[in-house]
Amino acid sequence: MADAARAAERPKRPRKPFSVQRMPGFATVAVICFVALYAPLFPLMIYSFNAGESIAVWQGFSWRWYESAWANEQVKEVTIRSLVVAAFASGISTALATLAALGTTRTASFKGQTVIYVMINQPLMVPEIVTGVALLIFFAMIKVATGYTGLAYLIAAHTAFCIPFAYLPIRARLEGMDKTLEAAAADLYATPWQAFRRVTLPLMAPGIVAGAMLAFVISLDDVVITELVKSAGQDTLPTYMLGQLRRAITPEINAISTALLAVTVALLTAIFFLSRSKE
């Protein structure tokens, strides 16, 4: 009887699980957020196609600023420098991050593992300006001592802050991987190196590629640390753009920004699909 009474009290319709999407005002907040995030990008992109010299007065469609940016020797020089630094920094940081990820997921748990984890991700937490100033002072000492003033300083600095960005997707990939697979490889006569080469590496490859791309984008977009670390005549694309903004602004800067944005979006899209792939 008590059961029947309790059953009658129960609401007729099954309770829907709590969903933030059904909260009042959810759609409004979402739209406002997306507009705030992306709206400012549109004038930038639109005026990169302006036929006139203004970045605020529309005078018709034209590719002229893209052509002018493309023809600009200085832009070419800093773009190549940016790509070189990003390629080296992402390559080295991905290699180091791969080793770090293997070391933190494929060894018996050791004392201080959490400390190591925090230390690897330290560049995510420390303010960029602090790292920049620290590197500026440190590199200045080395420059005085050795006399070397080449691109290696920039590459080293970029490698340092790229490591956590490369590390996180690789580690996520390794943690999601069934460790029994490596045991199975060993069971089937694979030496530790063969097991790594034939099983672990192919399975973690999407993580490595995603990590490298993320590191590449982060390096390509960096301003603060680059601005502080670069020697004279070592402008990268972002620091060059920053320098240009201090003078007369033409839609050429819009064109370069739009191109940089396109590259970034393309890489991030690729990372998204890579990290989604199951195998």
Binding site: L181, T191, R198, E279
Partner: protein, 371 residues
């Protein structure tokens, strides 16, 4: 130590201790067992009994804290997994997701450095053995659970190991498929002539498939024997209880003659004959076990046949199971007894609840327990 050619695996005094200090866990405690060539040997026990640890020691994923493991006369306790002619079928199958079915099966042979033609040939033979020829080029994610199971078997058998280790490989399959695979495993073992060491917690699986069974608990092997021996002659309470249903009765030993004993049951004071395992007490109070299906009803006027013992009881409850009926009986002295009687239309009159009955069981249906 005896090291006959008949023994494939000899585990000698092996202990495995995980952790240290307060967190020390003794997963295996001085385990010794000899597994014969071409035998279907099962390690049976509840989870945490050490059966999987023993299997991992044989595979080389763990190394013993103490003791030796001989494979065909060679001490392998210190060898890494890739240096042991032993392969494993994992509970999760652990098929390589980035390789095809054929590549999975050929993996071990390739790692052994076998020539390509031989690898191809063996892979095809293995696919035929497990009846999967059509799926060679498939990804392992594109085949069913039962098919994955077959691929895992073929992959482990392809390098023709001296011993095949199977870690609860059937537990992920549904009931019907599991029955099918039990027969399939027996067939594979017969056809390949490889020693199978099979780990399970399912007593029925162990009884139907094994040549011999080792029952384990708390890191120790309690009893080793054929399925019939384990079932009919359990030496310890745990073994009797873990495998099948059984009745425990208190008794007192009156006299001993070799491996037979005369006892008086506390219930009703009836004298019975029982088997006495090695190492059991030879006098005083003991516990005996009698399987429920060994009992049968006597008519009210029937005398028990020669050598059989009879007990008076009252039916408390009946549970119908289709092929048989379980009678929950109360004996004199408040002990309980479950009798499993096959349902038979020809039976004159089946007892009803509350009836007084007499049950009889054959001379050596009872077994004395060591504990």
């Amino acid at each position: 130590m005896i090291q006959s050619a008949d023994v494939a695996v000899n585990v000698a005094g092996v202990s495995k201790i995980f952790g240290s200090g307060d967190q020390e866990v003794r997963a295996l405690d001085d385990v010794s067992v000899a597994i014969r060539q071409n035998e279907f040997f099962t390690l049976l026990g509840p989870s945490g009994c050490g059966k999987t640890t023993l299997l991992r020691l044989l595979a080389g994923f763990e190394h013993p804290t103490r003791g030796e493991i001989f494979l065909n006369g060679t001490d392998i306790a210190g060898l890494p997994p890739n240096k042991r002619p032993v392969n494993t079928v994992f509970q999760s199958y652990a098929l390589f997701p980035h390789l095809t079915v054929g590549q999975n099966i050929g993996f071990g042979l390739e790692m052994q450095g076998k020539p390509k033609a031989e690898v191809e040939q063996t892979v095809d033979a293995m696919l035929k053995l497990v009846r999967m020829e059509a799926l060679k080029k498939r990804r392992t994610s594109q085949i069913s659970g039962g098919q994955q199971q077959r691929v895992a078997l073929a992959r482990a058998l392809a390098p023709h190991p001296e011993v095949l280790l199977l870690d609860e490989p059937l537990s992920a399959l549904d009931f019907k498929l599991r029955k099918e695979m039990q027969l399939e495993l027996k067939r594979l073992q017969n056809e390949t002539g490889i020693t199978f060491i099979f780990v399970t917690h399912d007593q029925e699986e162990a009884l139907t498939m094994s040549d011999r069974i080792a029952v384990m608990r708390d890191g120790k092997i309690l009893q080793v024997g054929g399925p019939r021996e384990i079932y009919d002659r359990p030496a310890e309470r745990f073994v009797a209880d873990f495998i099948g249903d059984t009745n425990f009765l208190r008794a007192e030993i009156l006299g001993v003659d070799g491996d037979a004993a005369r006892l008086r049951l506390d219930a009703g004071g009836v004298e019975i004959a029982a088997d006495l395992p090695e190492g059991a007490a030879r006098s005083g109070a003991v516990t005996v076990v009698i399987r429920p299906e060994r009992a049968r009803f006597l008519g009210p006027d029937d005398a028990p046949p020669d050598g059989e013992s009879a007990l008076d009881a009252r039916v408390e409850q009946m549970v119908y199971f289709g092929t048989d009926t379980h009678y929950h009986l109360r004996l004199g002295g408040d002990e309980r007894f479950i009798a499993r009687i096959q349902n038979d239309e020809r039976l004159a009159r089946a007892p009803a609840e509350g009836d007084s009955v007499r049950i009889a069981f054959p001379a050596r249906a009872a077994q004395v327990l060591k504990d």
